[in-house]
């Protein structure tokens, strides 16, 4: 049996997990499922592509297909994606949230998602594009698994982002405020937590991680306007599987979905890959709707 699918699943899963962190935070703090989250990934990837183009040259670092310009571009693009999310919130979501009907906000995010995606298609056409067209040689690492330098680098980057996020949520003051607000908004207000700052932090973190995930998809696969839409179902499934509000749960959920998808590609057929997330989602909803790390609804 070829074990390569384990590595493929791990990589796909870490990109899904990064996206799911944003979804799970938006859901637990702003109380709506954001259908535009996938499009933050796509916008982040295209923003990074534009910044790389503006810096000029890719200057790859030895075994990698990319160099410091892409890393720099990713950081800039994370900021730009956060700006996009904050602008959307200011224009649309915040106003609707104030009316208190959360399902209307979901609907607005659905409309915004359609508009954002089609805007990308308008600007860049639906043809896929790449950060680099260089071919990477995969090195064998034993057990019949081969890995490219890019994959190793991006797995390490994911690990760093996830550990950083976890520490931020557990140790920093803002992280504690975010958790407090998600558990009990009224009480959080009473103890003097600045809700606007919590909301802002949620958008910034969610959008920045979505952007990072989008750039990774761009480096390892390709950049397309529909890339976010294709990842939306796995991301939602991962967030629910992990338990809404739980950052480690979102990452673990992402890894489980990624590995299951890769296993399905190996054993069932690549054309059924997209159904895996749905099957897992239905199973979770029927058997354990609170997810792995979730808390039961009051």
């Amino acid at each position: 049996m070829n074990l390569q699918f384990l590595l493929d699943g791990l990589i796909a899963g870490s990109m899904i997990g990064l996206g799911a962190i944003g979804v799970t935070l938006t859901y637990s703090i702003l109380r709506f499922s954001n259908f535009a989250h996938g499009d933050f990934m796509a916008w982040g990837a295209y923003a990074a592509l534009a910044v790389v183009g503006a810096i000029g040259g890719s200057l790859p670092m030895a075994p990698l297909s990319f160099g410091w310009p892409l890393l720099l571009a990713m950081v800039v693009a994370m900021g730009l994606t956060a700006l996009l999310a904050l602008t959307l919130d200011w224009l649309l979501f915040a106003r609707l949230r104030a009316r208190g009907q959360s399902i209307i906000v979901v609907m607005a995010s659905f409309g915004a998602s359609m508009a954002l995606r089609s805007l990308l298609e308008f600007m860049f056409t639906s043809r896929p594009t790449y950060f680099s067209r260089a071919i990477q040689i995969a090195q064998p690492v034993g057990f019949g698994i081969r890995v490219t330098a890019d994959q190793v680098a991006l797995l390490l980057l994911t690990l760093a982002l996830v550990v950083g996020m976890h520490l931020f949520m557990q140790r920093s003051q803002r992280g504690r405020e975010m958790r407090a607000y998600s558990q009990n908004p009224a009480l959080a207000r009473v103890v003097g937590i600045d809700v606007d700052k919590v909301v802002r932090a949620t958008w910034i973190i969610g959008a920045a991680l979505a952007c990072a995930s989008g750039v990774m998809v761009g480096v390892l696969v390709q950049i397309r306007p529909l890339m976010g839409l294709d990842l939306l179902l796995p991301i939602f499934a991962a967030a629910i599987l992990g338990g809404i509000g739980s950052v480690p749960g979102a990452v673990l959920g992402g890894l489980i979905i990624g590995l299951s998808e890769a296993a399905a590609v190996q054993f069932v057929g690549a054309e059924w890959r997209a159904a895996v997330a749905f099957v897992i989602l239905m199973a979770v909803l029927l058997v354990r709707p609170m997810g792995l790390f979730g808390v039961a609804e009051r």
Partner: protein, 309 residues
């Protein structure tokens, strides 16, 4: 002149089929407050069900049942209702967002089955030779178009009357009560979950029926007919028309479809052909922005009863 008449009938038929889908959505959303992001999936289930049951034998997929068209439509409504009921059963006891996410997933999976289960759906090539009502009239284009329009209009009218009746019935009152104040309604002994599943299933049945009617109107279906854009268009139609109003749903469908077709041929006329795909995506951007603006400024729509939620 004759061409224009024929086109007018064709346009109205297409718009009315959208109106039928919007009627189903209005029962789910307008009356009951259930958010369905997988409309395209439910429409596709109806279309494929009826197509498979009524088409003559095809070499490389199941079929050859040769049912009459009406039986196919009924079966389409029933099968879609079952699919919707199951979706509702799995999600409606949970948070309202889970229904949205799951219906989104339903649309993805239906699209996948339509594309890949060649033995059932014909795969990317779709299902052809779907029997059309009044096929014997096909030589007389205008008569054929108007006969079809009459069929579609009567289906829409019958559904409209049935839904109007339903929403005034005790059953409809319970749905409204649940939407307005769930706690009060459940305190009166009405099971919120069971009523919502029923409403979702009936709305799904109407969508499935619409898919079947459309399939038999065009005579050919393929997975590409059921992309997320369809879901999005129907939502725009209901929001423009005013959610909660069946009349608004139909009027909204006609208006939005007119805007869609009009702006489509307008850009086709002025934009050079190599940029047409881009211009088409701008059309979707415009509708998306419009949907958000309506949500912000005129949530009751333009033709609705104007009743404040």
């Amino acid at each position: 002149m004759i061409d224009l008449l024929g086109y007018g009938a064709f346009f109205t038929s297409t718009a009315l089929i959208f109106g039928l889908i919007a009627l189903g959505l209005n029962l789910q959303w307008g009356l009951t407050g259930l958010f369905n992001v997988g409309i395209a999936g439910f429409v596709a289930i109806g279309a494929y069900s009826s197509a498979i049951l009524t088409t003559p034998d095809a070499a490389d997929r199941v079929g050859g049942f040769g049912w009459p068209i009406l039986a196919g439509w009924l079966a389409a409504a029933c099968i879609t209702a079952l699919a919707a009921a199951f979706t509702g059963y799995a999600t409606l006891r949970l948070k309202s967002d889970y229904l949205a996410i799951t219906t989104f997933g339903v649309a993805v999976v239906v699209q996948l089955v339509a594309l890949n289960a060649q033995g059932l759906t014909g795969g990317p090539f779709g299902v052809a030779f779907i029997p059309r009502p009044f096929a014997s009239l096909q030589e007389h284009a205008v008569a054929f178009n108007f006969a079809n329009l009459a069929v579609i209009a009567s289906v829409v009218l019958a559904t409209y009357l049935a839904l109007e009746r339903l929403s005034r019935s005790p059953w409809g009152r319970v749905l409204r009560a649940l939407r307005e104040d769930e706690r009060a309604a459940t305190a009166l002994g009405k099971s919120a979950q069971s009523y919502r599943i029923q409403a979702f299933a009936v709305g799904g049945a109407v969508m499935g029926l619409a898919g079947a009617v459309q399939a038999h109107f065009i005579g050919f279906i393929a997975p590409d007919n059921y992309l997320p854009t369809l879901t999005f268009q129907v939502w725009a139609m209901l929001m423009v028309g005013g959610s909660g109003s069946n009349r608004g749903a139909i009027l909204g469908a006609i208006v939005v479809w007119a805007i869609w077709v009009g702006s489509g041929s307008f850009t086709a006329a002025i934009v050079p052909s190599d940029l047409q795909a881009r211009a088409a995506s701008l059309q979707i951007v415009a509708i998306g922005v419009m949907l958000c603006l309506i949500l912000l400024w005129r949530p009751q729509g333009f033709f609705g009863a104007g009743r404040k939620k």
